[in-house]
Structure formats: structure tokens, C-alpha cells
């Protein structure tokens, strides 16, 4: 037997799987050739050293047994194990590139569903509050004196038993707006917006307005009108000084 042949068959010989006649030839060659014998000794030594077995430490045994017992979850249905196991394996064995490409789809998908859900709000948009954008509503009490508490006019209408009026005064503007809410007995309310330049005398302006044909025809009033009070005065402004 030559050296290359020996090298080919030495592993079979080492594992005891070489037929007896070939083994005899090989042993003969090993007796003659130093380098092959050296090789053979080395391989046998490696095999012998590899043969040492490990033993699971007793403490670890108990721990593993307990863990398996707990994680096996006695009483769970089989399909649940299978599902969970499959899920874990799927994510664990994924290549990093695939993993990141899949993870990056999560925010995209989420925003898509959020956009769809926003089409059907639980609270209608009209009722949403936007505190940051709300105009600052200042109570009239911030002023030392009421801006306009009571205004009397010469005009009287007997069939009006109550006039509810509100004046919205906007400082730092060129004009003043008044909203008169006039309620005839048991009848409809009418909002009328009156706007005056600030230079004009306020009472005179109101007088003029109430005399106007538009206001009178709208109310179908026949008698002189008395505005005896402005029920409510509120000041709205988004001016920083207020």
C-alpha cells in the first residue's frame, strides 16, 4: 500500500470500518513508513482526546427540568404551542436585512391604518377642541368699569317685553360691533350686527341703526323701540395686551 492510499483509508481504519484484508496491508505500511505512522498516531490521539464526554451538572439539570416544565405549559392546547414556536423561530432565524426591512414596514402600516381610522372619528371634528388655537376669552370683569352696561334709547315698542342684547366691543379696532338680540313676545330671536366707526357717538349710532328700514322691516315693528339694557357684554380679543 502506498502513502496516498494510506492517507485515503486511514480514517476508515481509525473508525474500524476498513475490511480486514485492507487493514492488514495498511498496518504493514504503517510499520514501514514513518510519516504515515506519525500521521496515524496524531489522528488516533485526536480521536482519543475527543472521546471525553461532558456531563450536565446536577444543578443545571434541575434548573433545565424546571424551566422546561414551566415553559412547556401543561394544559395549553397544542396549536398554541405550535403557533408560538413558529412565531419565535420565524423572527429568530431571519437575516438582519430582511428583519429590518420588515420592521420598517411597521410604522408605514400603522400610519396607514391611523389615516383610515381618522375618517371615522368617534368625536366629530366640529366638537374637537383646539386649546392652543382658541381665542382668549376675557371676562368683562378684567376692566375696572363695565364697557357698556346699560344703554337707553328714545325709541319704544310696546310689544317688546324683553330685549336681550349683547355688545361685542373690540378695542384697538377702527369700529365697534354690537349684536342686538331682540326677542318679541313668544316670537323669534333676531340677531342684528351693527357696526360703527369709533369716532361716531355710540348712542346716536344705535339710534340710527334701529331706525333703519332693514332692522324695522325684519322685525315688523310698528312701535318705538326701547333698548333698555344690554344683558351681556363680553370682550373677545386675540390682542396680546388683553
Amino acid at each position: 500500500m502506498t502513502c496516498p492510499e494510506t492517507r485515503n483509508k486511514i480514517h476508515d481504519y481509525l473508525d474500524g470500518e476498513l475490511p480486514a484484508n485492507e487493514a492488514a496491508f495498511l498496518e504493514e505500511h504503517l510499520g514501514e513508513c514513518t510519516s504515515c505512522r506519525e500521521n496515524w498516531e496524531g489522528l488516533r490521539w485526536v480521536k482519543q482526546e475527543l472521546g471525553v464526554r461532558e456531563h450536565l451538572p446536577t444543578a443545571a439539570q434541575e434548573h433545565i427540568w424546571q424551566q422546561v416544565h414551566v415553559r412547556a405549559g401543561y394544559g395549553w392546547p397544542d396549536w398554541l404551542y405550535a403557533q408560538w414556536d413558529g412565531f419565535c423561530t420565524y423572527w429568530r432565524d431571519m437575516e438582519p436585512l430582511t428583519l429590518w426591512s420588515k420592521l420598517s414596514a411597521v410604522p408605514v402600516t400603522l400610519s396607514f391604518f391611523i389615516m383610515i381610522l381618522m375618517q371615522f372619528p368617534l368625536v366629530p371634528f366640529q366638537q374637537w377642541s383646539y386649546p392652543a388655537f382658541e381665542m382668549r376669552r376675557m371676562p368683562s370683569s378684567v376692566f375696572s368699569e363695565p364697557l357698556l352696561t346699560e344703554v337707553r334709547a328714545r325709541h319704544t315698542y310696546a310689544d317688546i317685553d324683553e330685549i336681550m342684547s349683547a355688545a361685542w366691543k373690540i378695542p384697538y379696532e377702527d369700529s365697534v360691533s354690537l349684536v342686538a338680540q331682540i326677542t318679541p313676545t313668544g316670537h323669534a330671536e333676531i340677531d342684528h350686527v351693527l357696526e360703527y366707526p369709533k369716532s361716531q357717538d355710540l348712542l346716536a349710532a344705535i339710534d340710527d341703526s334701529l331706525r333703519s328700514t332693514q332692522f324695522q322691516s325684519a322685525q315688523n315693528f310698528r312701535k318705538p323701540l326701547v333698548i333698555y339694557s344690554f344683558q351681556k357684554i363680553d370682550v373677545y380679543s386675540d390682542h396680546p395686551d388683553l
Partner: protein
């Protein structure tokens, strides 16, 4: 009569193995404990040799027995339970190996390979006992062998360990690994050659 009894005895063994699998499928705890006692060291040894890390090996042992419990219904009985367990262990170890390799595992040193944790006798310098040189040297060789094994490609390592540590036949190794017998043989041969070259200084030291 003796032959008959012998054959009956072996058949009882076979029936017992089948019975064990049936009981495993029914999630019988007793059967599970029996299998654990039978195969724990085999599985542990295989994973220690494959990964060179005892903590990882314990973890893998746990995973393997958990898989046994959960996936026993997938076991079709085409191979023996032992082969199946080996295959599961090998897959788990291959996964871990891949996972670690991605994170440059080979550039880090395994702490569990230290002599102390290898279970060998570590001499106590303060003690009165003389230094047991041989055991220290054996531990040294053991460590070097693990390092050398760890440097082999995974398929060669698996084949060598299954053949030389677990003592499986070529056919069984081929079955576990899922490769042709010729491939397995060449992997074993190449693995052993590399181990031999790598451990040459230790062998010469041991011979002295």
C-alpha cells in the same frame, strides 16, 4: 428457547421505545422525565462540543427538550428518537452559531472555557497538596481542543463531533446531518486533519 427469550427481550425493548413515544405524544410527564434522563448528557455533550460554551450548551439542552415536548407530534418515527434529538440539537446549535458569528463571536474569548469551569481540578496555591500537573495539562489540552474545534467550519465540526464524541456510525451521522455518506466522510477526514495539525504541540508535550 434461549433464542426465543432473547428475541422476545429485544422485541420488548422495541415495544418499550414505541410505547415511550406514544406516551410522549400524550404529554406524559413520566415518559418525558425518562427521555430527559436518557439523553440529557448526549445532547449537552454535543452542544458543548459544537459551541464551546457551557452556558449556551445548557440553554440549548433546555431548548431541545422543550422542542421534544412541543413537537413530538411532528416526529414521524422514520428515524430513532436519539437521531431526531441529535438533529434538533444540531439545528439549534447551527442557529446559535450563525447568530453568534454575525456578532463576531469568533473574535471574543469564551469565559466558560476557563479551566475552573471545565470541572477539572484547579490547584490551590495555598493548599498543602502537590500540584497535580497531569490534570492541569489534561485541562490545558481539553481547552486547546475546544478552541481548535471552534475554529473548524460548522459542518466539519458537526461531523467530527457526531462521529468521534458521540460515536455514531457514518450512516447515522449522514442521517443527522442530512448529507451523503461520502460528504460526511470527507468532512470528518478534513476536520480531523485540521485538529491534528492544530494540536500537534500539545500531543508532543503529552508524549514527553
Amino acid at each position: 428457547m434461549g433464542e426465543l427469550t432473547g428475541s422476545v427481550g429485544s422485541r420488548i425493548g422495541l415495544h418499550e421505545a414505541e410505547d415511550l413515544i406514544v406516551r410522549l405524544r400524550e404529554h406524559d410527564e413520566q415518559a418525558f422525565a425518562e427521555v430527559f434522563q436518557l439523553y440529557k448528557d448526549l445532547v449537552y455533550t454535543l452542544s458543548v462540543k459544537l459551541l464551546s460554551d457551557k452556558t449556551e450548551a445548557m440553554d440549548i439542552t433546555q431548548e431541545v427538550f422543550l422542542t421534544l415536548f412541543r413537537k413530538i407530534h411532528c416526529f414521524r418515527g422514520e428515524c430513532s428518537l436519539k437521531t431526531w434529538l441529535y438533529r434538533v440539537t444540531l439545528n439549534q446549535a447551527a442557529n446559535r452559531n450563525r447568530w453568534w458569528r454575525r456578532r463576531f463571536r469568533n473574535q471574543t474569548e469564551s469565559l466558560s472555557l476557563k479551566l475552573k469551569e471545565d470541572g477539572h481540578c484547579v490547584p490551590d496555591p495555598a493548599g498543602n497538596e502537590p500540584w497535580p500537573d497531569r490534570e492541569v495539562y489534561a485541562a490545558e489540552i481539553h481547552k486547546a481542543l475546544q478552541v481548535a474545534l471552534n475554529e473548524l467550519p460548522f459542518d466539519q465540526r458537526a461531523a467530527v463531533v457526531l462521529r468521534d464524541v458521540q460515536g455514531l456510525s457514518y450512516e447515522e451521522v449522514a442521517e443527522v446531518v442530512g448529507a451523503e455518506i461520502g460528504t460526511v466522510k470527507s468532512r470528518i477526514a478534513r476536520g480531523r486533519e485540521r485538529l491534528k495539525d492544530r494540536l500537534k504541540p500539545y500531543r508532543e508535550g503529552a508524549a514527553l
